[in-house]
């Protein structure tokens, strides 16, 4: 190579003609090697993650949601997100950042949701997710206060004569993949000895046409989801009256928000924001009377709303503003209002049932704010 003479302008640095890399080449190689070495030797994260600070810094909350379930997570014709879970996303955003609209909604399928949570794509998953032991143990997830006590049900066409699950031998059942529904269906039907054929679809967009065309005889899902789907059933297919949800409940489905393992501070923050909405209903604080309630004589209410009681406002040490509860209620209302607006009287029309306060015979029992 050194026998070749370059004419005119030197086109390559002299050293490349001998095959030796240039100074730049050496420098790049050293940089890459040292970076990878440093990366390798770098230990794990130092201490626990602190998502609360991160979210405050970012200014928005990344919330994993659904967009196909009327009443829980749905996109209206105008492109707005609406639903029970959506309102809780907004509640958390209000409590942490101070703005109910500072939410980045990440639509996730049932199969993606835990991977998205593990990979830090979302800060909190509020997507009608059932709390089970295997999810708690194997998905790196921490489940917080249950917001909706649901159960699995079966929806059939009104003109079929199925009155209970035992009648459904030999049928084909449509189910959404990646949900507890699939496993429950199998275990319930197998334990009762009922033969059936499952058809498990990725999403409702393909499942619904299959059910409409009578490819399957039954559609199983959480009863609240079935109620929502039934309420939105097109008139061309017979409207809501063309469908019937069987009375039998196949399983317990406690739905609630989910966060990642390893950040107990963040978990406590989200938990107490959710509990604040329930506590507010217990105190009788609504979106309308929040300001008025701040002047209440009841020291419990005053403490709850972050009003100074004998000098200082109460701060439980969660890392939130002392009056976060008042802000949350002013933005989204209390639990009862969220429920009525989305799935209750003004929404799907579901009874409170197990979702009532403990004082009304339901299961919601918020720990004392003290």
């Amino acid at each position: 190579m050194s026998l070749i003479r370059t004419r005119g302008l030197r086109r390559r640095p002299r050293s490349t003609r001998t095959g030796r890399p240039t100074f730049v080449g050496y420098a790049v190689l050293v940089a890459v090697a040292s970076l990878t070495l440093a990366g390798c030797l770098h230990g794990g994260d130092d201490g626990e993650a602190n998502l609360l600070d991160e979210v405050n810094e970012r200014g928005t909350l990344q919330c994993g949601v659904n967009d196909t379930v009327p009443g829980f997570g749905f996109v209206t014709a105008g492109g707005e997100f609406q639903g029970f879970d959506i309102d809780f996303c907004r509640a958390v955003a209000t409590g942490v950042v101070g703005d109910a609209n500072a939410v980045d909604f990440q639509v996730l399928t049932a199969e993606q949701r835990f991977t998205a949570l593990q990979a830090r794509e979302i800060d909190v998953l509020i997507r009608n997710t059932t709390w089970t032991s295997s999810r708690d143990g194997s998905e790196g997830a921490t489940f917080l206060t249950t917001t909706f006590y649901d159960g699995q049900g079966m929806m059939v066409r009104a003109d079929s004569n199925y009155q209970e699950l035992g009648d459904m031998g030999g049928t084909t059942i449509c189910v959404l993949s990646g949900t507890t529904t699939e496993l429950n269906l199998e275990s319930v039907f197998r334990s009762q000895g009922i033969e059936y054929t499952p058809l498990s679809f990725e999403d409702n967009d393909t499942l619904q046409p299959a059910f409409q065309q009578r490819r399957c005889d039954g559609w199983t899902s959480d009863k609240s989801q079935l109620a929502g789907i039934r309420s939105a059933w097109p008139q061309g297919q017979g409207g809501p009256d063309a469908l019937r949800i069987l009375d039998e409940t196949m399983s317990k489905e406690p739905l609630g928000p989910v966060v990642r393992d390893g950040d107990s501070g963040w978990a406590a923050v989200v938990d107490w924001i959710v509990l604040a909405t329930i506590q507010a209903e217990e105190f009788g604080i609504t979106q309308a009377n929040v300001e008025e309630m701040k002047q209440s004589d009841n020291p419990e209410i005053q403490r709850f709303l972050g009003q100074p009681v004998e000098g200082e406002a109460f701060d439980p040490g969660l890392g939130l503003d002392p009056d976060f509860a008042a802000n949350v209620i002013a933005a989204v209302g209390n639990y009862g209002e969220i429920y009525d607006r989305n799935v209750g009287a003004d929404g799907l029309g579901l009874e409170r049932g197990l979702n009532a306060l403990w004082t009304e015979g339901g299961l919601h029992y918020p720990p004392p704010y003290r």
């Binding site: 190579m1 050194s2 026998l3 070749i4 003479r5 002299r14 001998t18 095959g19 030796r20 890399p21 190689l29 890459v32 090697a33 990878t36 070495l37 990366g39 390798c40 794990g44 994260d45 049932a110 199969e111 835990f114 991977t115 593990q118 295997s134 999810r135 143990g137 194997s138 998905e139 790196g140 030999g170 049928t171 084909t172 993949s177 990646g178 949900t179 699939e182 496993l183 199998e186 275990s187 197998r190 054929t197 499952p198 058809l199 498990s200 679809f201 990725e202 393909t206 046409p209 299959a210 065309q213 009578r214 490819r215 005889d217 990642r260 393992d261 390893g262």
Partner: protein, 389 residues
Amino acid sequence: MTTLESVSRRPPPWRNVRVLRIAFQTAFVFAVALFALYLFANLVRNLDRLGIDTSFDYLSQPAGFAIPDSDFRSTEDLFAALLVGAKNTLFISLLGIFFATILGVVVGVARLSSNWLVRRTAALYVESLRNVPVLLIILFWYLGVLLQLPPIGRAVEWEVLVVSNRGLVGPGLRQTDDLLVLVVVAAAGMAVAAALWIWRTRRFDRTGEPHQRVLWSGGVLLGFLLVGYVAGGMPLAVSLPERGELATTGGFRLSPEYAALLLGLTLYTASHIAEIVRGSILSVPRGQTEAADAVGLSSFDRLRFVVLPQAFRVAIPPVGNQYLNLVKNSSLGVAIAFPEVTRITRITISQGGPAPQAIIVLMGVYLVFSLSISLVMNLINRRLALKGR
């Protein structure tokens, strides 16, 4: 600066091109390995921190879900579920490859036909299907055609077929007795038929008399099968479909999911294979067709004995490529609830199985399929290749 170097004196290592090449390649490999190690360590560390399993033990957990159209029990482990999925993928891929090849060759030859209508129709088929994503074709067949068939309550019975949107059911075979005798005799029959084929071919090469090897081998095989069937006590019977209220019992059932996926894959891949075949036919030198005409071959014989054999030599690598694409496109069965291996893996992940391991296993399955197909295509290629090219 130029210097004349004496050839006998070796330059010092830091100027020796050969040493430097080896040194830098080693350093590069080392850097890449370090980077890969960093990524792997990062993954394992983060999985551990989240408490997620980093081993392959999840495969021995009970599945908990059922798989339609199979004997799989939900109490069997996830590994067995994966095998069922892999079997489904394998069968649909093989069937798809078979039908796509036949259709592709036919359409490819049709595109070069002297008949204007045939040529235009083939061109229309190729151009429309090549430019539509496979998923859309599959969804069209499933949602637009097969689901629109009459529901089971109004299933259409036509001779021995029962057609509904729960599937196309035709006559099938039912096992009534032990199959062992039949299988053994059939295996013997196949061996004899193969031997006959080779003998007749060699005889033809030697003497030039028509080999009629299909008649000989086929006839002998058929004879053996008949003898085995009778000797085994008639272990197979025809089962006809019977229309039930919820499902059709008996017979052989082709579910709409299976049919939609097969149709979509076949039609799409055939359109690509047609173009490859057309190109390969056009690559055969014109002199060959002229010589075939001069010898007096009919146009069909010319195609069969002169043009296509030479064309296939050229077509084998790209067609092998299309086969690999077909195998990978079969993963689109997830969109229509067909239980192939990607579907099973996704169910596994969503039921709590660790995602990295599950995907690695899935990639391994597709790798095995793809490498096998590549191996076969390479063997065929080597056999057909012209010596010295």
